[in-house]
Every structure is written in C-alpha cells, then in structure tokens.
Symmetry: C2
C-alpha cells in the first residue's frame, strides 16, 4: 500500500470506492455507476478502498464522499461529473452520455428518489454486518437518525413490501421489454446508473429484489455479463436457504 494519498496519486487511474471490511466487496450504488462506466469504456483502474469514516482521506479532492476519480493529475468527484469527464477525456471510447446531458436528469432523479430510496428500506439492515466496528457505529447512528427507528425495524416487513417495490419498477420493466438496454442496443450511463442500485443490493443483501421472470431481471443478467462479467465476479451476499 502506498505510504500516502499523494504518493498513490502520483500516476495512473484510481477510483476511490466505498467498501466494508472486505475491500473487494464494493457496494456504493454511486461508485458502481463509475466502476461500470469505466468497464464499458475499457478503461483500467486501480480500486482504492474507502470507508465511511475516512473523510479525511478525501481532503485532497476537497470532497467528503466517494466516488472520487483520480486520473493522472485530474481529480473528479460526483458520479455524474465523472461520467461526463470520462466521455470528454476519452472520446475514442464508447460514449455513455449521448445527446443532451440534461435528458439524463430524469432517470438519475428516479434512480435516487425511487429505486435507491425504496431499495434502502428493504436492505439497509443488512449493511452493518459488512462493516468494521467504527464504520458500523457511524452507519447505524446516521441511518437510524434518517429513518427514526432501529434499522431492523425499517426492514422488518420487507418480504411483504417486496411486491410494492417491484411494482415501482414498472417504467423500467416497460422499457426493457422493448429494448435490450436503457441506452438502446448497448448500455449507456442510464444503464450504469440503475444497475448501480442493483449491485449495491446484490452485494449487501440476500433479499431477491427481482423475480426471475421479470424483464428487469433479464436486463440485470445482461449487465452482469458486460465487460467479461466484471460485476458478476464481485461476491454477492449469500442467500440463506429458508
């Protein structure tokens, strides 16, 4: 491990990504957007594990959360900014934000305010088990404050709420019945953005968010197959047999 952030940043391309005890199990939906974007573009990167309580390690980026991309002497923060930066910096790679960037805003807002917000209420109680003690204390306290209740209570009736969650995916389902990807014939940043939410859930929780006969499930399989199956190789939460 390099002796300092400065030394680490001395060259190459690094993506600071959220993880827990196991640095290989990256799980932030926003980091996954960029991990997948880099993979679709064929841009290699070094994953730099980062944990919730390591804010000071991002001081060099004048930012307090991941993803942070270091690309040679460039530092870029926020997944949407990073996605657009990558298209500009590497015009010869697959362009993931096509046409007018503003037209992606609605899908990104839906992913945040519907997909991630509702998925969180189904899986948030699975996350503490992935974290070291210090991160766990921070995470539990901040999320319990957000939900106003203990995390096991947030997800207590999750099996009963799964049908309602799946119903909320109807716009996604309708598109993916007619198109292979949200981007059309091939995935674009819309696919990365939504897939990030599903990878987050897959890595942290055994809850089956999608039924196997769902067009969204089939799309997720196609995304898992992208870039030589990069996402599929990340360890998923184990499904405990009932």
């Amino acid at each position: 491990m390099p002796s300092s952030e400065a030394e680490r940043r001395a060259g190459g391309r690094q993506l600071y990504e959220l993880c827990g005890s196991d640095p290989a199990r990256v799980f932030s939906p926003y980091c996954w957007r960029i991990r997948m974007a880099l993979a679709l573009k064929g841009l290699a990167f070094e994953s730099v594990p980062w944990r919730f309580t390591e804010t000071e390690r991002l001081a060099f980026a004048r930012h307090d959360r991941v993803p942070v991309l270091v690309d040679g002497d460039r530092v870029v923060v926020e997944s949407w900014e990073i996605a657009q930066y990558l298209d500009r910096a590497y015009p010869q790679t697959r362009q993931l934000v096509r046409g007018e960037p503003a037209t992606y805003a609605f899908l990104l807002a839906w992913a945040d305010s519907v997909l991630f917000a509702r998925a969180s209420r189904l899986i948030v109680s699975d996350i503490p088990a992935l974290l070291d003690a210090r991160d766990r204390a921070y995470f539990v306290a901040s999320r319990e404050a957000r939900y106003g209740m203990p995390l096991p209570l947030v997800t207590a009736d999750r099996d009963a709420r799964l049908p309602e969650f799946r119903a909320q995916l109807q716009p996604l389902r309708r598109v993916l019945r007619d198109q292979k990807f949200l981007g059309g014939e091939a995935p674009d940043f819309a696919d990365c953005a939504v897939f990030g939410g599903f990878m987050w859930a897959r890595v942290v929780s055994p809850l089956p968010l999608l039924a196997p006969d769902d067009a969204v499930f089939a799309w997720r399989e196609r995304m898992l197959d992208q870039a030589g199956g990069m996402a599929r190789r990340i360890q998923a939460a184990e499904v405990t047999p009932p």
Copy 2:
C-alpha cells in the same frame, strides 16, 4: 367542414385530436404531446376534432386512435413516431428528440405507467361530462371495465389520495429544481410528453393536481407560456368553489 376525410387531406397539415362535445377542448395526453411539439417547432396545423367512437374516420390511416398527423401526402400515427417524423421532416425547426431516441424511452414509460395511470384514478370520473351521449356510453363502459367499478368510486377518495400522487412526482420535482425544463434550458419532447398529462387533467378536471409552491407547478406555468401561451388559451375545467 370538408365533405370527406379524403378532401380534408388534400393538402396542408392536420392533427386529428381527441375532444368531446366542444371541439376546442382537446384533452388526450398523447394528442397534447404533438400539439405542443408542433407549437414549439412553429409549425401551423389544422386541428381535426375526433371522438372516441369515430374509429372508422381513421381508416385512411390504418389506425384506430389519435393522434394522427396528416402532413401533405404523409400520414403518421402514434405520438412518439410523429415526434421523430417531425424532427426528420423539419430539420430547420427546434429538434425535440435529441441524441439517441432510446434515451427518451424511460421518461415516456414513466409518464404512461406512473403519471397518466395515477392521474387517471383521480380525474377519470370528470371526463363523461365532456362527452356527447354516444361517446359517454362507450367511455363509461370501457373505463368501468378497466377499473372494475363505477367511475365515481374510482375517484371517490381523491382528495385523500392527492398527497400520494404528488409524492410520486418526486423525480420530476428533483429535476425541475435544477433545470428549467426536462430538456434543459429549453423544452424538448420530454417536456411535451409530461406536459400532455397535465393538460389532459387541466382540461377535464377541477382537481388541483399540483400545489402552487411545487417546482412542478412552476414548470407547468413555463410550459403554459410557451409558443405565445397556446396551451393556456385552451379552456380549463372550472374550479368550483367549495
């Protein structure tokens, strides 16, 4: 009025639009998408009033519903096809479908399956009053079959359900806090698509779908102001004082 559809189609640009007894109160959300697209492009058109039970009048288009656009010797059906046709046929006008058309699919699916579907459960019982007897019989029978109950029952508790409807607009609200339009600085077909749903509601129902302090309300005002206030001049349903 021309003596036949063939004679009417002999030249110019006509948009077949859904209306009730009053031909000026066009109310189909899908027709509104195209009415607005034509207005934003500055393309004049003759509105051809069409009613639910006049399927045979669309035989020339080999189609059974509106919008139908007749543009000289071209006949184009389905709002999404018409939008793309207009951009191709009039490249010198404002382009409303920018970049990859597939990237609009998610927003269109959300408009159909969330906005229109949920708005319908709030306003559907207001529609029969706009229709002539024959259309009213068709409309009430087909919609009662869809909902499995009398239309007044579908909307009976609508005041109580309004907050939940407004909550479903959160992705829209989030975008419109940061952008003037869904298309960015100026409206594009995404704006037309969503605005169509709000015009449908505005023309048929006195129910205030949006609160005045909502960013979506402010956006709707901006859309009402487009093209010299075209949409604002269409008579809205009257709000009955309580």
